[in-house]
């Protein structure tokens, strides 16, 4: 299986890297026409209200204003903004504009004007009268609350997801394998606790941006910072009641996504203005809008029970989740399900396992997709609980995990029962190097179960903690990617892919994959991606799918391309196609009688062969029958100041099994970036509100993300691994890095101080209070 590679498993530089550093126009707002109307959105100042009246006359009369739009101007069509497969597992509960607003930031009206200043002045001239309604801000009080957030009759689910809007329930799900209550009752040791994870903001540095225009054919073109152009076309078509043939979506470069752009946020408003005025229009969110009115991570309460035998055999796992989807239900069910389906199989030798709960509406910012996608929340509960169990058993937490964790050749019944919004698929794990990851991580962090905490003077303690994680590689039988390869004169290839590079380097690694399969250099692959008119279909960049799903599609296209080349050469040589070999440079017969260089051959096919001339091209599509999980072991060393509660991360060791890293550098940087976002969530990132539901952390001064001064050391290594189902053995790597820091750091704080903190983030006041509470009096 392990072969030598020429183009993959290499640290190749990104193809667009120098262009980006040089500042060439690349992102949506860089490319928007200078004369595009500037669209600004009037947003609700109330967490829950009914619009009694909107008076936009003064705004409309302001010089330079092209139009003002509100619920009076659009047909009331419920849709979902979640970029997901069809039919979407998210309820159709959002309207482009509505007479009701359900959180501070909800869209009330849009103004289009010749410039930003005029648009902002016009916003101020719109008079809106609201009837303020009671708001539901506490997610633990949302279910069956007398205030119903979605009483409207038109909203619906696309298939049964446990949708009960009259009870403020967006979705619900329950499953059980074996008899959890019985096994827990029989277990010699049990631990039981509730864990709370907070909402986190994505903070991609490029704010959500889209511009639209009508092309020569009168078709609506939208250029947008999206992670899923094809879903965006479908969702936009639905929301605007337009046939999809009249819409084209293009994604240029985007400045980060992390799941935050796996939705339709700004596109409908630009499009509405273009359709209304016939003019180009653009929406560029302010940072405040990104914070207040895009999406955040689902806040959760996770009730966790683990049962084990005295010798450390984990017998039962029970995870019960309450998830806060905010005002709308995008990704409500699926994020929640991943909380169980991509954590619980880590310990697959249990006799019984149960997962279930509800996702509730509140009058807060809607939650959506965010890197980790539920697995990070579930991981905090599971991996904290496993360490709590280790303490009860007086066992090394690393040893307890080694004894119970999943291994190569094994499976979990959960894979079959739980998918994303529906059933999953049976899957035997063909690559899992968790044993190596734990051993190597222990070695690098110098894990000694007898010395997990050491005083370092001045009331400070250095301590270590750990956690394991798994993720997936695309959604099996749902996610599909495709690729088109075409030979060009001079012997290079066009690679057209629907896949969506959001900064991760997928354009580069898909070119590497094509080059490896074709036997040519990556320099001979020209990539064009993410254009619904001109590239083949792809679900887009989410669910850790691109390397695995789109990568496999590229391999299929390249294999087919080789067949096409051999067949065309066979015709030229007058032999059978099976007799022709291709090594990336030359097409020749095995007997050496015929040969032609690829470059010469490419000119021949397009210029020199009269009636035989043709374009040589091939396609490939792939949808996974499984979703091989990447795995990782995370180890952290921290220093806790017991006088102040301040925690410093001194080193974070991550050993990751992502199969073959297609690009060794880019894979490693994915993990480093994921780790730091996870550390940010563990330590201080927290979306906070006033008592009226106004977000307080709506800028980068009040919502802190890690700066480079916050990083002491990240130590990332990739395990040698190969998954037979992946492209050249690759699995995914985009999300796995973010999952472990929450539990690993909380576990380290416990090891340092005896304070078990089950609520995030681990801020100094919280840590200090926990230390004081844990101290024997």
């Amino acid at each position: 299986m392990h072969r030598e590679f020429k183009e993959v498993k290499k640290a190749r530089g990104k193809i667009e890297g120098q262009g980006l550093v040089a500042g060439r126009p690349a992102y949506s707002d860089d490319l928007a026409p200078r004369d595009a109307l500037v669209v600004k959105i009037l947003r609700s100042p109330h967490a829950h209200a009914r619009i009694i009246s909107i008076d936009s006359e003064a705004a409309e009369q302001l010089t330079g204003v092209a139009c003002v739009l509100s619920y009076k101007d659009v047909k009331r069509i419920p849709f979902t903004r979640a970029g997901q497969g069809h039919p979407e597992p998210s309820p159709h509960d959002k309207f482009i504009f509505d007479q009701y607003v359900r959180y501070v930031g909800d869209e009330v009206a849009a103004v289009a004007a010749v410039d930003e200043a005029t648009a902002i002045r016009a916003l101020e001239l719109i008079k809106v009268e609201y009837e303020v309604l009671d708001a539901v801000l506490d997610f633990e009080a949302a279910m069956d609350n007398p205030t119903v957030i979605h009483p409207e009759p038109e909203i619906h689910d696309m298939f049964p997801i446990g949708f009960e809007p009259k009870r403020n329930i967006a979705a619900a799900y329950d499953m059980e394998i074996g008899d959890v209550e019985k096994i827990l009752a029989e277990s010699e040791i049990t631990v039981k606790s509730s864990y709370y994870t907070q909402a986190q903001a994505h903070v991609a540095l490029e704010p959500h941006t889209a511009y639209s225009y009508l092309d020569l054919h009168g078709r609506l073109n939208v250029v947008t910072s999206t992670q899923n152009p094809f879903h965006t076309r479908r969702l936009l078509g639905q929301a605007l009641e337009m046939p999809l043939r009249s819409i084209r979506i293009r994604k240029p470069r985007i400045g980060g996504g992390f799941g935050g752009k796996q939705h339709v946020h700004v596109e409908p408003y630009a499009a509405l203005v273009t359709l209304r005025t016939g003019k180009p229009a653009k929406v560029v969110m302010t940072r405040r809008e990104v914070f207040e009115a895009s999406f955040a991570r689902h806040q959760m309460r996770i009730d966790m029970q683990v049962g084990a035998s005295r010798d450390g055999r984990i017998r039962a796992l029970d995870m019960h989740v309450l998830s806060n989807t905010g005002a709308y239900g995008e990704h409500a069910l699926t994020v929640f399900m991943v909380g169980g389906s991509k954590t619980l199989p880590l310990y697959n030798k249990v006799e019984a396992v149960r997962f279930g709960g509800k996702i509730v509406y509140t009058n807060k910012i809607p939650a959506g997709a965010y890197r980790g996608y539920g697995a990070i929340q579930g991981n905090f509960a599971l991996e904290s609980a496993i360490s709590e169990l280790a303490h009860e058993l007086k066992m090394d937490p690393a040893e307890l995990r080694r004894k119970n964790m999943i291994a190569e050749g094994e499976t979990s019944e959960i894979f079959k029962i739980m998918g994303e919004g529906s059933e999953g698929v049976e899957m035997t794990i063909e690559s899992c190097k968790l044993d190596y990851c734990v051993d190597r991580g222990s070695q690098l962090i110098k894990w000694d179960p007898k010395k997990l905490a050491v005083p370092s003077g001045d009331g400070k303690i250095r301590a270590k903690g750990m956690a394991l994680a798994m993720q997936g590689s695309g959604i099996p039988l749902i996610d599909m990617g495709s690729a088109h390869i075409e030979l060009q004169d001079d012997g290079f290839f066009k690679l057209h892919i629907g896949a969506t590079d959001l900064g991760t380097g997928s354009d580069t690694i898909l070119a590497q994959i094509a080059a490896e399969e074709l036997g040519v250099s990556s320099d001979d692959i020209i990539v064009y991606a993410s254009d619904t008119d001109r590239t083949p279909y792809d679900v887009g960049a989410y669910a850790s799918s691109t390397t695995y799903v789109s990568g496999n599609a590229v391999i299929r296209a390249a294999k087919n391309m080789k067949q096409v080349l051999r067949a065309a050469a066979a015709e030229k040589f007058g032999v059978a196609a099976e007799e022709v070999e291709f090594d990336g440079k030359e097409l020749r017969t095995g007997d050496g009688k015929h040969s032609v260089g690829l470059k010469e051959f490419s000119f021949d096919t397009l210029y020199h062969e009269g009636a035989n001339m043709k374009t040589l091209a091939a396609e490939g599509s792939f949808s996974g029958e499984k979703s091989p999980p990447p795995y990782m072991a995370g180890f952290v060393e921290i220093e806790v100041d017991t006088g102040t509660g301040k925690v410093e991360v001194l080193d974070y060791v991550a050993i990751v099994d992502c199969g073959t890293p297609i690009n060794t550098n880019l894979a490693k940087v994915q993990v480093e970036g994921g780790l730091l976002q996870g550390i940010g969530m563990a330590m201080y990132e927290d979306v906070q509100y006033s008592s009226k539901g106004q977000m307080l952390t709506n800028n980068l001064m009040h919502y802190k993300i890690p700066s480079r001064e916050d990083v002491k050391k990240l130590t990332v290594e990739l395990a040698e691994s190969y998954d037979p189902s992946g492209p050249f053995g690759a699995k995914s790597v985009g999300e796995i890095g973010i999952d472990t820091p929450l539990a690993a750091i909380a576990n380290a704080i416990y090891n340092a101080t005896g304070a078990r903190i089950r609520e995030l983030p681990l801020t100094p006041p919280r840590v200090l209070a926990a230390i004081k509470a844990a101290r024997p009096h």
């Binding site: 640290a11 530089g13 990104k14 667009e16 890297g17 120098q18 980006l20 550093v21 040089a22 500042g23 060439r24 126009p25 690349a26 992102y27 707002d29 200078r34 930003e116 200043a117 994505h202 903070v203 991609a204 540095l205 490029e206 704010p207 470069r253 985007i254 400045g255 980060g256 996504g257 992390f258 560029v284 302010t286 940072r287 405040r288 959001l502 900064g503 991760t504 380097g505 690009n663 550098n665 880019l666 490693k668 940087v669 480093e672 970036g673 994921g674 780790l675 730091l676 976002q677 800028n699 980068l700 001064m701 993300i705 890690p706 700066s707 480079r708 001064e709 990083v711 990240l714 990332v716």
Partner: protein, 151 residues
């Protein structure tokens, strides 16, 4: 009101409103390499050099820049490409949205501090946020760049 700026070596005039911020004046004039990320002077993507010193153009009034010289990353093509090589070699150029402001600050740091140590580098660049990379690959690139180009 009308202001005059020397941008990347060229004298240019701009008609502005008194409250306009430099980032908007520049972007409107087509200098889209100056990015806009946070509106509060927190993220560093709007960095330009004002008379050679890095400033945040989202919190700098255009009127105040009147008569001064502004350098964007496109005014430092050679240095940007030189540093870019190290950045790309480390895979540190992720989404790239922070790259122009970040590269400009690195170049200014090199001019100002010569060959700074790790803590000095972190401190000088603390205002240039990156949400993608975790900063470690950027640090590897900066160190190698400084080492390779130190006279």
């Amino acid at each position: 009101m009308r202001i005059q700026l020397n941008i990347n070596g060229l004298e240019k005039q701009f008609d502005i409103e008194p409250g306009d911020m430099l980032v908007d004046t520049l972007r409107r004039a087509g200098y889209t390499e100056v990015k806009k990320g946070c509106d509060t002077g927190s993220c560093g993507v709007c960095t330009v050099l004002l008379d050679g010193t890095p400033i945040l153009s989202c919190s700098y009034l255009s009127a105040k820049a009147d008569g001064h010289s502004i350098t964007t990353i496109r005014g430092l093509e050679k240095e940007a490409a030189e540093f870019g090589e190290f950045l790309v070699a480390e895979g540190a150029d992720q989404c790239g949205f922070c790259a122009p402001g970040f590269a400009l600050t690195v170049i200014a740091m090199k001019r100002e501090l010569g060959s700074p140590g790790e803590e000095e580098i972190k401190h000088y660049l603390a205002g240039n946020l990156c949400r993608c990379s975790g900063y470690e690959s950027q640090m590897r690139a900066i160190k190698k760049y400084l080492e390779a180009t130190h006279a």
